[in-house]
C-alpha cells in the first residue's frame, strides 16, 4: 500500500517495513546486531533518506504526478525541506501507515475470537463491516497517545496547563471513557456512532491516514468473510513492549478450512 502511495520500486518494498520497524524498535527487539543500537538505527535511517533522496531527484526533474514523493518535491510548502525534515516526514508516513494498521488488523482477529457473538452478527450481516471496522479501531487504539505543546495557558479539569507545557493526550483513556461511550470495555460492532472515537486524534494534527486505514480494514474483512469460515487464535498474543504502540509481536492462528471461491 505504502509502496503504491510513494510509487516506491515494487521489488524493494520490504525496505519500507524494515525502516518502520527500525525507527521504533528498542534494544529488546532482536533487530540490532550490536549493543549500540542507536548508532545502528541512525545508520539505517540515513540509508532511508539517501534512498528517498534519489527518488526525490528523479521526480523533481519530471512533471508532477500523484505519488507522495512527487507531491512533496513539487509542493510549494515542502519543496525546500532540508534532509532531516524530509526524513521526518517520510518516517511519519512510513510508520504511520505501517504498524498501526497492521496491529489493528491483528486486533480485529483477536476481538472476533474473544466475541463470537459479534462475529456471528457480522457473518449474518456483512453490511456491518464499516461499523465493525470503526469499533475495532476504537477497541484496539493502536497508538495509546500523542503529545502536544500548549500554545496558551488553559485550565482543564481544575488543573492549569501552562503555555509551553508538553501534554500527553491519552487516546486509550478517551476511548474507554464511560461518560462518552456506553459500556466502553465491550466490543460491540453496531454502535450508534461508531466513528466517534479518538484513535485518529482530533483537530488539525489528527491522523492524515484516517480514511486509508478504514479502507484497508474494510477490504480485509470483505475478503476474509467469504473465504474463511474460521480463523482461530491459538494462544494469548505476545504484545509489543511499548508505552506508545498498542500492538502485537506475535499471535499464532490457524485457519482450519477455506471456502471454495469462484474464479475471478
Amino acid at each position: 500500500m505504502l509502496a503504491t502511495l510513494f510509487d516506491f520500486p515494487w521489488d524493494e518494498r520490504r525496505k519500507l517495513t524494515r525502516w518502520s520497524d527500525i525507527a521504533t524498535a528498542g534494544p529488546e527487539s532482536g533487530l540490532f546486531l550490536t549493543d549500540d543500537y542507536e548508532t545502528e538505527r541512525r545508520m539505517e535511517l540515513f540509508g532511508c533518506v539517501d534512498y528517498f533522496t534519489r527518488l526525490w531527484n528523479e521526480r523533481v526533474n519530471a512533471p508532477p504526478k500523484g505519488d507522495l514523493v512527487s507531491l512533496l518535491a513539487h509542493g510549494e510548502a515542502t519543496r525546500n525541506m532540508d534532509r532531516m525534515e524530509y526524513l521526518g516526514n517520510l518516517l511519519l508516513l512510513i510508520i504511520g501507515g505501517n504498524d498501526t494498521t497492521r496491529n489493528t488488523m491483528t486486533g480485529s482477529i483477536l476481538a472476533m475470537n474473544q466475541n463470537p457473538d459479534q462475529l456471528r452478527k457480522l457473518r449474518e450481516n456483512p453490511s456491518l463491516i464499516p461499523s465493525m471496522v470503526s469499533e475495532t479501531i476504537r477497541w484496539q487504539t493502536p497508538l495509546s497517545n500523542m503529545r502536544r505543546t500548549a500554545t496558551q495557558d488553559f485550565k482543564l479539569g481544575g488543573k492549569l496547563i501552562r503555555k509551553g507545557d508538553k501534554v500527553l493526550i491519552w487516546y486509550a483513556s478517551g476511548n474507554r471513557d464511560e461518560k462518552a461511550i456506553e459500556n466502553p470495555e465491550a466490543y460491540i460492532i453496531h454502535r450508534e456512532r461508531p466513528r466517534n472515537h479518538l484513535s485518529f486524534g482530533f483537530g488539525i494534527h489528527r491522523c492524515v491516514g484516517n480514511r486509508l486505514a478504514e479502507l484497508q480494514l474494510r477490504i480485509l474483512w470483505e475478503e476474509i468473510l467469504p473465504r474463511f469460515p474460521e480463523i482461530r487464535v491459538l494462544e494469548e498474543p505476545r504484545r509489543v513492549p511499548s508505552v506508545l504502540i498498542r500492538g502485537y509481536a506475535s499471535m499464532p492462528v490457524v485457519i482450519p478450512s477455506r471456502n471454495a471461491m469462484r474464479a475471478r
Binding site: E192, R195, F202, G203, I204, R206
Partner: protein
C-alpha cells in the same frame, strides 16, 4: 426569544430540523443530534473537509465569508460548488434562524 432552527437535508431527501444555540456551529448541531451525512473527522478545526454542505439559495451571504483556509480545504471536497461551505465554519446567529443546508452524496 426563539431558538434558531436549522434544516439539514440528506442527499436522498430526508429532512432533519434541529434547534441550535447561538454560537454553535452547523457541524456541532448535526453531530450532537445524530444527523447522518456530516462526518466531521477533524472535530471542527477546518482541517478535513468532511463536514461539507450546500447552502440553500438565499442563505449563503448570511453565513458569512469563507476564510482562505476554508477555501483551500474545500479544494479537497468532492463536487464542491459555489454554495459549498464547511459546516464547522458556520456559526449560528439569530439571523440564521431557518437556515437550510443540503448534504453531498458522500464526504469523501
Amino acid at each position: 426569544m426563539q431558538v434558531p432552527k436549522v434544516t439539514y437535508i440528506e442527499h436522498h431527501g430526508s429532512e432533519h430540523v434541529i434547534e441550535l444555540k447561538n454560537g454553535m456551529s452547523v457541524r456541532e448541531g448535526a453531530v450532537k443530534n445524530g444527523v447522518p451525512g456530516i462526518d466531521a473527522d477533524c472535530g471542527g478545526a477546518c482541517a478535513c473537509a468532511t463536514c461539507h454542505v450546500y447552502v440553500e439559495d438565499g442563505w449563503l451571504e448570511l453565513t458569512g465569508a469563507k476564510t482562505a483556509m476554508e477555501t483551500s480545504m474545500l479544494d479537497f471536497a468532492e463536487n464542491a460548488q459555489a454554495n459549498s461551505r464547511l459546516s464547522c465554519q458556520i456559526k449560528i446567529t439569530d439571523d440564521l434562524d431557518g437556515l437550510v443546508v443540503r448534504m453531498p452524496e458522500s464526504q469523501h
